[in-house]
């Protein structure tokens, strides 16, 4: 039995194999030049192990008494103090919110504000280590802003608390375009890391809510609620959950100095 091989067919197959080999060799440098790992999105976790750790507990020592706060007191807004019964800083008060009367005795809390002291003319609440005063119903208290921003800035320019109404926030959430009619912001990117560092206010309408809450042209909003903005999702989380917050703290850079603007939402 003889095996007949067509020499021209063999020649053709050999040429195809040579082309395939050349193509294979041509692709080889790509294996060395191209990256062998892709890019996946990773969530940034920040764990502060020592956040709730007290050294005194580890050595069974008695913790030092908490320092008395020397911070200025602010008036609690949007509530009306209708009646007071006090005896030696203890007592019962009647407050009115949206036409509803609520009774509180010392030690009780309302929307996170703990009633700690009742005096003949005012009630003192405590929240997050700060004291808030509520006086017997005043004619001039309109419910939106307690004292003017300028007055608060004079008391303590580093910490300013402003009241915002939930309905104003809802209005801007429903009419998103109105935000940009009253304020313009520009993202700030670190040229080295190419990551977000904040948002610069390039224009603000002073008569709008954004002007009233203390934002000024040139301010750089670098964080909120004690968290520095590192990603756009940080900002988006606050936007998506804004109706769940009772208070918001904005950290801004004004003239290269860090400043906190605090907002109570009613």
């Amino acid at each position: 039995m003889s095996l007949a091989i067509n020499p021209s067919l063999m020649k053709g197959i050999l040429r195809i194999l040579i082309i395939a080999l050349i193509a294979k060799i041509a692709t080889m440098p790509l294996f060395f030049l191209l990256p062998h790992f892709g890019v996946d999105h990773t969530k940034e976790f920040t764990i502060n192990l020592y956040h709730n750790f007290k050294l005194s507990k580890a050595f069974a020592l008695k913790a030092p008494p908490p320092k008395k706060s020397n911070k200025p007191t602010y008036k609690l807004t949007n509530l009306k103090l209708k009646a007071i019964y006090s005896h030696q800083d203890q007592g019962v008060i009647a407050i009115e919110e949206k036409g509803k009367l609520i009774f509180l005795s010392t030690g009780e809390s309302f929307k996170g504000y703990k009633l700690i002291k009742v005096e003949p003319t005012k009630a003192i609440f405590e929240k997050d280590g700060k004291h808030y005063e509520l006086y017997l119903e005043e004619k001039n208290l309109k419910g939106k802003f307690s004292i003017s921003l300028e007055e608060q800035m004079l008391i303590n320019p580093e910490e300013v608390t402003i009241a915002i109404l939930k309905r104003d926030i809802d209005h801007y959430r429903r009419h998103f375009q109105k935000i940009w009619q009253n304020i313009s912001i520009q993202e700030q990117i670190d040229p080295k890391t190419k990551r977000l560092t904040g948002f610069k206010v390039t224009r603000v309408n002073k008569n709008s809510l954004f002007g009233k809450i203390g934002l000024q042209k040139g301010d750089i909003i670098i964080g909120a609620n004690n968290k520095t903005f590192r990603t756009y999702s940080d900002v988006l989380k606050i936007y998506n959950n804004i109706d769940k917050y009772n208070s918001i703290k904005l950290t801004i850079l004004r003239n290269n100095q860090k400043k906190d603007l605090e907002y109570e939402i009613y």
Binding site: I19, A23, K24, L30, L34, G38, S233
Partner: protein, 167 residues
């Protein structure tokens, strides 16, 4: 003439073998690194390396760290002279109220080295046609989207909502 046609066959064969042997997965990783510089990330995807194409399935698209949507399937056909990227079913993230609720059924990016300054975009969304282009020299582009619902984008004379971008 016969000699020329034989050489043409060799070139085509070389191109086909080159595509077959080329590390398409590594090319995709390179593309991911380039996109990452523009803060665009495709994550959690499944990769299929085929003979002449490359498929990515169930990818989450992150732009500037925000999950903007999910791609059911994207196929890349790097055929040297006719390069196409076909994206099937892109759904925007419904949890983000800022994003327009658009369902993109098909989006095709077409590039040929015979017209190297432009990438053409064509597609189909839930409410109609999508068209656009990317000008590679000017580093900018636009996508026109037909939508019955109003979108927070500029409206063109033809009635499309235009998304313009630069990079």
């Amino acid at each position: 003439m016969k000699r020329v046609s034989v050489w043409l066959v060799y070139i085509v064969l070389f191109a086909l073998f080159f595509l077959w042997f080329s590390p398409k997965k590594l090319l995709y990783y390179k593309l991911e690194h380039i996109l990452h510089q523009q803060q665009i990330i495709l994550s959690d995807e499944t990769i299929y390396d085929n003979f002449f194409s490359f498929d990515v399935e169930d990818a989450k698209l992150f732009v500037k760290d925000i999950e903007v949507g999910q791609i059911t399937k994207a196929s890349l056909y790097p055929e040297l002279f006719i390069n196409t990227l076909v994206i099937k079913n892109f759904n925007t993230n419904k949890n983000i109220s800022l994003l327009p609720k658009i369902e993109i059924r098909k989006l095709i990016f077409f590039y040929t080295p015979f017209y190297p300054i432009k990438i053409f975009i064509k597609g189909e969304a839930s409410d109609g046609e999508i068209k656009g282009s990317i000008e590679l020299m000017k580093r900018k582009g636009f996508i026109d989207i037909a939508s019955k619902k109003p979108l927070p984008l500029k409206k063109t004379k033809e009635g499309y909502y235009r998304y313009e971008f630069s990079y």
